[in-house]
């Protein structure tokens, strides 16, 4: 069984974010990056399947040179090999452009299962996984909080409104976009980290994948025109007093607002 896991490298949760000069994205210089946390759950799910039997785990990521670190981390956690799509021409792509790159990889690799995080923590579109499934022509589900396998069929509990779960079954090959918290993500072991340097990490361009004319800002149907921090308001109310008094005032306020 071959499992392809889509990883995205995003700014570290503790990174200080400043908006870049033209106001379309954050300044990426001199900040730390990490694997999108939703994707770590997808990777862990793939590694659990690998631990349970024979499976090859392939991790794929798109981005500049820094993305190598995320892929090495994934290899250190137990993935078998990695593909890094590193091409400046892809910069400026919208979700569809990214999905086309991943779909080109998937068509070359023919995985039995594609796992991805529900969304990325920086853009929050949650659009790439369903687009990828559609482009590859395989069934998919999203927001999976439980994944079970049996003879080529996956049964997934997916989170829906009101705290309820919907149970869906999918025939492999298929794609599952996972919700955070469906497993306990492992740490890379020392042994895994040292073994990772010997595992294959292939670098490809959009041209290598045959999608050079479908990616980049020129091909994007969606472009970010401006991002901005939330405006500062003057509606904040400072609650003062002893801890007990503050707690009492907060409860009163919450009741006034009808939140309790």
């Amino acid at each position: 069984m071959k499992i392809m896991v889509c990883l995205k490298q995003v700014p570290h949760q503790d990174a200080r974010l400043d908006i870049n000069g033209d106001g379309t994205w954050i300044q990426e210089d001199n900040i730390k990056f990490e694997i999108n946390s939703y994707d770590t759950y997808a990777l862990e799910e793939a590694l659990l399947i690998k631990d349970a039997g024979e499976a090859e785990v392939l991790v794929v990521s798109i981005g500049p040179d820094r993305v190598t670190q995320a892929l090495r981390t994934a290899l250190g956690m137990g993935a078998d090999r990695a593909i890094h799509v590193n091409d400046p021409e892809i910069q400026g792509s919208d979700s569809l452009g990214m999905a086309k790159v991943l779909a080109a990889v998937a068509k070359e690799e023919n995985p039995d299962l594609i796992l991805a995080g529900l969304m990325s923590e920086d853009a929050n579109y949650a659009a790439v996984p369903p687009m990828l499934a559609e482009l590859v022509g395989i069934p998919h589900t999203t927001a999976a909080v439980k994944v079970e396998r049996s003879n080529g069929t996956l049964t997934c509990d997916r989170e829906i409104e009101g705290g309820a779960n919907e149970v869906v079954t999918l025939e492999a090959p298929c794609l599952v976009a996972v919700q955070s918290g469906l497993n306990q993500v492992r740490y890379a072991s020392l042994k895994g980290i040292m073994a990772a340097k010997k595992k294959p990490l292939d670098v490809k361009t959009a041209a290598d994948l045959g999608v050079a004319d479908q990616v980049g800002a020129g091909a994007a149907k969606v472009s970010v025109t401006q991002i901005a921090p939330p405006p500062k308001g003057d509606t904040a109310e400072l609650v003062e007093g002893s801890p007990d008094e503050i707690a009492a005032k907060l409860v009163t306020k919450i009741k006034e607002l009808g939140l309790l």
Binding site: Q69, R72, T73, G76, R186, Y187, A188, S189, L190, K191, I193, M194, A196, K197
Partner: protein
């Protein structure tokens, strides 16, 4: 000699910092240090079985990873930052290190696989009530008796001594002095005649214990190396341990600086953040100078330890002197920058201050190591 960590070493540090952020936060350190055992057994179990840290120095033929002191220094810097409460330092740098340096193949085969998996906690019982860190500090006596040795004496300030499964005990032949007649023995913690008492020491993030050896009988096979000739090996173990402590001290000093700068940027006094005052800027700059000098000394010592060269004694003492002073200075200055609350229970500087004081004296303080360097150089 390359002072930059390579890709794998940087990944190791990132992984360690991620784990420690999740499992060794300020709150978790406080919970562990006030627990009965003094550390979180689940965290230690994960460090052994999941992360494989105790396997770092253990050769592959004994179930380890066969990595070097460069990787260990990189790792210890992160555990020092976080004030990790676990028998990691004692197991790897003290007891395990003694086995690696002085143990026979049979002794390594017996103990190192379990140590590598985190199932065997080790430590080294060297110092005694005299508090000396030279060979004359060993007063405990090993008396041959038939095919055995009988150990008597008192060992004090033994790191993680109350939790160790296996203890490497330094003792000397009756009537010997100085570097002559010194032996190292493997003693199980449940040996008859061995009384272990936890000491009420200042640094509760790494507890110490006292061992009373009241006729503890060990077989001749328990000797690490030839009985009576262990001082050169023991000196090397102490030097390597000093490198390990130095790396931890660098991490702790850096954390003190980071905490201080973060606080100075937030704390407002006289209408402005205190970090804008020149006196505090100078103090922070001096702290940074200390940290960077200490880091250079510790990394250099780590490289020398990895190469197993003749420069180890000087490099180890240089690192220990520099890092001890840097950590204590940074911890003390952090308390000054925080002001009165710096020594309150709720804030972390006091934890580092206590660790800094404890590690400053452990294995010899800065003055002791300066004196030693003078003796080695001239």
């Amino acid at each position: 000699m390359n002072f930059a960590f390579n890709e794998e070493q940087e990944e190791l540090r990132a992984m360690a910092r991620g784990f420690l952020a999740d499992h060794c936060s300020s709150e978790q350190v406080r919970a562990a240090m006030t627990s009965e055992q003094g550390y979180d057994a689940d965290v230690w179990k994960r460090i052994g079985s999941e992360l494989g840290w105790p396997a770092l120095l253990v050769p592959e033929e004994y179930g380890g990873l066969g990595l070097s002191w460069v990787e260990l220094v990189a790792l210890l810097e992160t555990t020092g930052e976080a004030l990790l409460c676990a028998p990691f330092f004692s197991t790897v740098c003290l007891g395990g290190n003694a086995l690696l340096v002085a143990g026979s193949v049979a002794q390594k085969q017996e103990h190192l696989p379990a140590l590598a998996e985190g199932q065997l906690r080790c430590t080294l019982a060297f110092s005694e009530p005299s508090g000396r860190w030279d060979a004359d500090g060993i007063a405990s006596v090993a008396t041959p008796d038939g095919g055995d040795f009988v150990l008597t004496g008192t060992k004090r300030f033994v790191p993680d001594g109350a939790n160790a499964d296996l203890i490497v005990v330094a003792a000397r032949a009756a009537g010997s002095s100085g570097e002559d007649g010194v032996s190292l023995f493997l003693v199980p913690s449940d040996a008859a005649g061995l009384t272990i008492t936890a000491l009420p020491t200042v640094d509760q993030t790494r507890r110490q214990a006292e061992f009373r050896l009241d006729g503890v009988r060990v077989p001749a096979e328990a000797s690490l190396g030839e009985a009576g000739s262990a001082w050169p090996a023991l000196r090397k173990v102490l030097d390597l341990a000093a490198v390990g402590v130095s790396a931890e001290q660098v991490g702790g000093a850096q954390r003190c600086l980071d905490l201080s700068v973060e606080y100075a940027k937030e704390r407002v006094q006289f209408g402005r953040v205190i970090g804008s005052f020149q006196a505090l800027k100078h103090k922070a700059a001096d702290m940074m100078l200390s940290v960077e000098c200490a880091r250079s000394a510790a990394y250099y010592a780590g490289c020398v330890a990895a190469e197993d060269g003749d420069a180890l004694p000087v490099a180890a003492s240089l690192a220990k002197a520099t890092c001890s002073e840097a950590y204590f200075r940074c911890a003390a200055d952090a308390i000054q920058i925080f002001g009165g609350i710096g020594f309150t229970w709720e804030y972390d500087p006091h934890l580092h201050f206590k660790r800094a004081k404890s590690t400053e004296t452990f294995l010899g303080d800065a003055s002791w190591h300066r004196e030693r360097i003078a003796g080695l150089v001239f």
